[in-house]
Amino acid sequence: MPESTTKESSFVSKVTEFLSYIAALSLFSLMALVFISVFFRYILNEPLLFAEDVMAILLGVTIFTGVPSVTLNRRHISVDLLTTPIKKRPMLNRIRLVIIDVGVIAMTYFMAYLMFQQATRYYQRDTISNTMEWPLYPSVFLFVVLILIGGLLFTHRAYRDKGKIKGHGGIDI
């Protein structure tokens, strides 16, 4: 896992930790809901009508509370095809890492804006969920807030690091 070479402020650490707990709770709720809904449908013959709509919200919350941790830990999937010659020059590599951080910040806010547009559209058009007919805009606005929090935390992290990071992101599927 990549490491930041600067110490994180306790506030940022606490917020990040809090978000990761929310993501964990949301994922557990998702699992429990699916488990219970299968039980209700096949054993008690009483399908939980709200299950699909709640699952969609929980999935979104899991993703958008998880993204800040992924970004802060720099665990996004990366390819690094052309980086070998740059990595041999520490100054050049640091500039590359700063540019990447700035790009990540820009794309995070861009994603927040895209979600904000969608939320506004849902609000204006009274878009509702498929089964329970709940309005969708509140959950999308929640996603916007979560993305923005992630963006702010990473902006802070990137400012402190100023390209002084080591390691490589990645994921196992």
């Binding site: 809904s37 096949y42 509370t65 998880g66 999937i77 390819v79 690094d80 095809l81 969708l136 599927i173």
Partner: protein
């Protein structure tokens, strides 16, 4: 089409410099779409927003985090560790028995963890010390674990198949069923590869002690719960009792229950598992957002039709096209790691494959291609210079040089190529169970 060529070049540049793949895909996809669409950036941003929400807030896609959670529960609680122990009791006394046990245990673990590197890492810890104790050749031991680990992404529930299903809009339950027979064949071919190595170099893999029948039967009690869980999930999906997402929920809940009953789930492990699975989910979905947007760009650029027209102008048959695409995978596999390869290639190759007349039922063509693609990605896990499984094992066995591990993989690599050729030439092997399922 020129816009797409520029876009792909830009994507390789941006992502190649280390910019996160998901953001690279989203940036190139949105910009490219804006350049082609008459309503420009406005339309591109609307489509991008819709794509993100369709993926992030769609209950059908809960299948991915739920199966990931099941894999993390199983791996972190260590309830899969005794699979090797059981396999070695049953097979260890045979020629190359501990290597056979490793491959079989890898298949068993793959069936519940769905992860290639997790399988390789776990097996390195449990199988390599045993093989060393019986004076197995280090290259062969490490090669067996590296190759055995690749089975992890083919046997369902497989993270790679789920991601392919999400991106290509292919039925995930069908993909799971299609993965079962190829997964079993993979294990059998590895068994043959081990036997061939033992014939040529018997000193590489001596026989281990024979376990008593009592010990073998007692060992089974450690794995019956996990085996039952796998059968419950796959049976449920096959007979239409569960959707794939429900199978994931039951699988994760079941794995948690088994771990608790075996007293292998502490509050710390439980919380860590949830946090890790949530983080994996966020990582994969953030790349998925970008891949879907690149898909939109590829489609609006008319790429599938133009690529097909170009291929037709070369006079290639549809099967020739498949061969060319597989060659691209081999080349990509030497420089790009497995997960990135799936995200990069699905938007570009799937529309092309969907248009080819391969003489099979069009409803199943993308299911077949999903398996072929995952097998190609599997091979990339052990292909130099970037073989992810080889790197994992190398980091855990620093005294075994990387080149030695690659040497130990040779027999398995040949088996992999035979396997790929089999599945390409005989699609019925892949699709038989899916067609039976209906």
């Amino acid at each position: 089409m020129i816009e797409l060529a520029i876009g792909i070049l830009a994507l390789l540049m941006i992502a190649g410099l280390g910019f996160p793949l998901g953001f690279s895909l989203l940036f190139v996809g949105t910009t490219g779409f804006a350049m082609i669409h008459p309503r420009g950036l406005d339309a591109a941003m609307t489509v991008a927003g819709q794509q993100i929400l369709e993926l992030a807030a769609n209950h059908q896609f809960a299948v991915l985090p739920l199966f990931m959670l099941m894999g993390v529960f199983v791996t972190k609680s260590g309830i899969a560790d005794n699979m090797y122990d059981v396999a070695s009791k049953w097979l260890g006394h045979m020629r190359g028995g501990l290597a056979l046990s490793t491959v079989t245990a890898c298949g068993g673990m793959a069936a519940i963890s769905g992860s290639s590197m997790a399988t390789a890492a776990t097996m390195t810890k449990v199988a390599v010390p045993a093989m060393r104790r019986y004076k197995y050749d280090d290259a062969f031991s490490a090669g067996t674990v590296a190759a055995g680990g690749t089975i992890g992404i083919l046997i369902p529930p497989s993270g790679a198949l789920i991601i392919y299903g999400l991106l290509s809009e292919t039925n995930i339950a069908h993909l799971f069923m299609a993965g079962i027979i190829p997964g079993i064949i993979s294990i059998l071919l590895y068994v043959v590869a081990i036997q061939v190595v033992c014939l040529i170099k018997p000193e590489w893999a001596p026989r281990a002690d024979r376990a008593t029948w009592r010990a073998r039967l007692i060992g089974l009690k450690d794995i019956w719960g996990i085996a039952a869980l796998f059968l419950l999930i796959m049976g449920g999906i096959f007979f239409g009792v569960f959707t794939a997402s429900e199978g994931g929920g039951v699988g994760a809940g079941g794995a948690l229950l088994i771990a608790i009953l075996r007293k292998k789930m502490s509050p710390r492990i439980f919380l860590d598992s949830l946090k890790e699975a949530a983080m994996l989910t966020a990582t994969v979905f953030s790349v998925g957002f970008g891949a879907l947007m690149l898909n939109q760009f590829v489609n609006i650029a008319g790429a599938p039709a133009e690529i097909l027209a170009f291929i037709n102008s070369l006079g290639l048959t549809p099967w020739g096209v498949i061969a060319v695409i597989l060659c691209c995978f081999v080349v990509l596999g030497t420089i790009v790691d497995g997960p990135a390869m799936i995200f990069l290639t699905v938007p570009i190759f799937v529309p092309v494959v969907a248009e080819l007349n391969l003489g099979m039922d069009p409803a199943y063509q993308l299911v077949w291609w999903g398996i072929i693609m995952v097998v190609a990605v599997e091979i990339s896990f052990i292909t130099p210079p970037i073989g992810m499984n080889v790197f994992v094992i190398s980091s855990m066995l620093p005294d075994v040089p990387l080149m030695k591990i690659y040497k130990g993989i040779t027999a398995f690599f040949i088996a992999d190529l035979i396997r790929l050729a089999m599945f390409v030439n005989f699609p019925g092997i892949v699709l038989w169970l899916v067609k039976w399922m209906g």
